[in-house]
């Protein structure tokens, strides 16, 4: 059982370390793919503050549903980078024994119910997961991560309306990273903020700067307190940016360089590091130590994943039925 250090006592340094871990993990995955040693995956580079900030507000009771860009969510929840990377390489030591890859990871012991790679798939399940928690007892709430693209699927609207009329404790977290695969958000919707859609369903909603981990943490804590207390849904939009391509490899030549540059300057990790240094919340030596700790963990994870065996052939037909 993994501990929940990050969420139980969210201190600033822990937020930084969690973000550094996600970034290093994603860059390692991308590097393995570039070297022909890993299949493709969708990284969350640039969106680390959203994952970490939201997870900072959760506790052990809560359940999580996520999408194709889930590695950051899993790591922020305390998942073991070794076992995620092993899963991405299709190894038997991965969380799902190599049957899911990056696409469908679930980690029951951490409350990660499912990663769905059908856009909006996780949204369809969220009211039911919440209802089940409610009917079977338990205080937990459900957090469902989805992209701005998923919000254009009909299922988003069905899901949030159900949660609203049935008073279900679902925190909808829309990671508005401005991209929907290879199309810019502006091409597919007139609203700048998905949060503005919540009101039409009677759902309290808010947008937060998704690149500021402290702001996300604070907003998520308020949102979680509201959902826990009222047993009603809340829509939190983390306004952020996808700094790599949609998937690996993707040179992302369709991205406007000026827009990319403006968001790079707001990199959630670099800006947070600088702020903590400026405020003397962390010393350069501590930062270095943190970075080498993270590097060591990721190197270890890569080695573990590479050395792990593939699933045995008998695994092909297991778990089709109970």
């Amino acid at each position: 059982m993994t501990t929940f250090e990050v969420s139980v006592e969210p201190r600033v340094a822990q937020s930084l370390e969690a973000m550094l871990l996600i970034r290093a993990f994603e860059e390692q995955s991308a590097a393995l793919n570039a070297a022909g040693k890993s299949p493709s995956m969708c990284t969350s580079v640039g969106q680390e503050a959203s994952a970490v900030g939201v997870m900072n507000a959760l506790d052990e009771r809560d359940q999580i549903l996520t999408n194709h860009r889930s590695a950051g969510h899993l790591l922020a929840r305390g998942a073991d980078p070794r076992r995620i990377l092993a899963e991405i390489l299709g190894k038997s030591t991965g969380y799902c024994g190599g049957k899911s890859g990056s696409l469908h990871i679930s980690v029951k012991e951490l409350g990660v119910v499912l990663t769905s790679t059908i856009v909006g798939g996780e949204l369809s399940l969220a009211p039911g997961v919440a209802l089940s928690r409610q009917m079977l007892g338990g205080e937990g709430i459900v957090v469902v991560f989805f992209g701005d693209g998923a919000a254009t699927e009909g299922i988003f609207h069905e899901s949030i309306n159900l949660a609203a009329v049935w008073n279900l404790p679902v925190l909808y977290v829309c990671e508005n990273n401005q991209w929907q695969a290879f199309v810019h958000r502006k091409e597919t919707m007139l609203a700048d903020h998905i949060s503005t859609w919540g009101a039409s369903y009677g759902v309290k909603s808010q947008t937060v700067d998704g690149n500021d981990v402290d702001a996300v943490t604070a907003a998520a804590k308020d949102a979680v307190a509201y959902v826990r207390g009222t047993r009603k849904p809340f829509l939190l939009e983390t306004y952020t940016y996808r700094l790599r391509g949609h998937m690996e490899p993707d040179p992302a030549s369709y991205v406007d360089p000026a827009e990319l540059q403006s968001w790079k300057e707001r990199d959630p990790i670099a800006t947070y590091e600088q702020r903590l240094l400026d405020e003397h919340a962390i010393t350069p030596a501590e930062l270095d130590a943190m970075k080498s700790r993270v590097r060591a963990r990721i190197e270890d994870a890569a080695q573990f994943a590479m050395e792990s065996p593939y699933p045995s052939f008998e695994e092909l037909t297991t778990n089709v039925y109970a």
């Binding site: 299949p39 493709s40 299709g90 190894k91 038997s92 799902c96 190599g98 049957k99 899911s100 890859g101 696409l103 469908h104 769905s116 790679t117 059908i118 856009v119 909006g120 798939g121 693209g149 998923a150 254009t152 699927e153 009909g154 299922i155 929907q180 695969a181 290879f182 199309v183 091409e187 597919t188 919707m189 369709y254 593939y310 699933p311 052939f313 695994e315 092909l316 037909t317 089709v320």
Partner: protein, 327 residues
């Protein structure tokens, strides 16, 4: 004739039909500005503009429903699915609307539309992204289902689909996109639906297949011919609805043995339909039970070693051929 890839043949078919008929248009995710995840629509936005090459939000139910509405009032939409897996988000629009409107309107309304995109297993895309749907869609009266296995057929069948008056599920094999072959240049070249083709002649065993598995069967047939002196006749069905079984019956009447090859799961699949039809119609000609070669009956696993086990390979087809020959 010109040497063309399956991918280019599909694009040529669409562009020729868009040149020919201003009511033909295409819509889908990432097809315009980005020119398609598989580059099928390269150059099309530039040529036809955003009114006829329409980028949609990620909204399959919305886009297919829109296409049905367009088709009912006289346009001829082509909907590109990023992969055919995502079309099931729009299953209601396809199965409950597109497939039935003509029938329950008493023939008042045509629904001339095509839903097309890459279909079948890829490489490590896991269970939600690796599925085959031909028997699923072919089960429904009112839909036509096409599964081309060569560049020429991809072009000729797609043109027939676009010109037709009914909704068509046009299932492309992503693994064949790069495959090259001779394709007629004539802009009036079409391949009619419901005409299975003898892709290779042979006297010993009939192999029935379509799409990529048909190409694989041809490789097996050549190998068995060279190495074992076994001559397989390979029948390419080309369209599953309408399904033309006459060439299959003729072939089985000659070889007296049949193997059916499909990538999808065995239960209730296309091969079951074909095997049953052979049994119903030319039972007396058979010298051995019809054998099916299919994918493993599991959701597609991700790990490469398991994925390879889950999909049919040349050796499976060869083994099935020998089995019906009792060798």
């Amino acid at each position: 004739m010109a040497e063309k890839s399956y991918r280019d043949a599909i694009r040529d078919a669409m562009m020729e039909e868009m040149d020919r008929d201003p009511n033909v248009l295409i819509m889908g995710e990432d097809i315009g500005v980005y020119e398609g995840t598989f580059r099928i629509t390269a150059g099309m936005l530039k040529k036809y503009g955003p009114k006829r090459v329409i980028d949609t939000p990620i909204a399959e139910a919305g886009m297919v429903g829109t296409a049905v509405g367009m088709a009912m009032l006289g346009l001829r939409p082509i909907v590109e699915m990023m992969t055919v897996n995502f079309a099931i988000v729009a299953a209601d629009q396809i199965l409950n609307h597109a497939a039935k409107v003509r029938y329950f309107s008493g023939g008042q309304v045509d629904v001339p539309m095509v839903i097309r995109g890459p279909h079948g297993a890829g490489v490590q895309l896991s269970a939600q992204h690796s599925q085959s749907f031909e028997s699923f869609y072919a089960h429904f009266p009112g839909l036509k289902v096409v599964a081309p296995g060569t560049p020429a057929d991809a072009k000729g069948l797609l043109k027939t689909a676009i010109r037709g008056r009914d909704p068509v599920m046009f299932l492309e094999s992503a693994a064949l996109y790069g495959m090259k072959g001779e394709v007629p240049d004539d802009t009036n070249f079409t391949v009619p639906f419901g005409q299975s083709r003898v892709a290779r002649e042979g006297r010993d065993v009939t192999i029935v297949s379509y799409s990529r598995m048909m190409q694989m069967s041809l490789l097996v047939a050549d190998k068995l011919s060279k190495e074992e002196g076994i001559e397989c006749e390979v029948i390419d069905l080309r369209t599953l609805r309408p399904l033309d079984m006459d060439p299959v019956y003729a072939s089985v009447s000659k070889t007296h043995r049949a193997v059916v090859v499909q990538e999808q799961w065995k239960p209730f699949g296309a091969a079951a339909e074909i095997a049953a039809s052979i049994t119903e119609n030319v039972f007396d000609e058979l010298d051995a039970p019809v054998v099916r070669v299919t994918g493993e009956d599991v959701p597609m696993p991700y790990a490469r070693n398991l994925e390879l086990l889950a999909t049919p390979h040349e050796e499976h087809v060869a083994a099935a051929v020998k089995k019906v020959m009792y060798r």
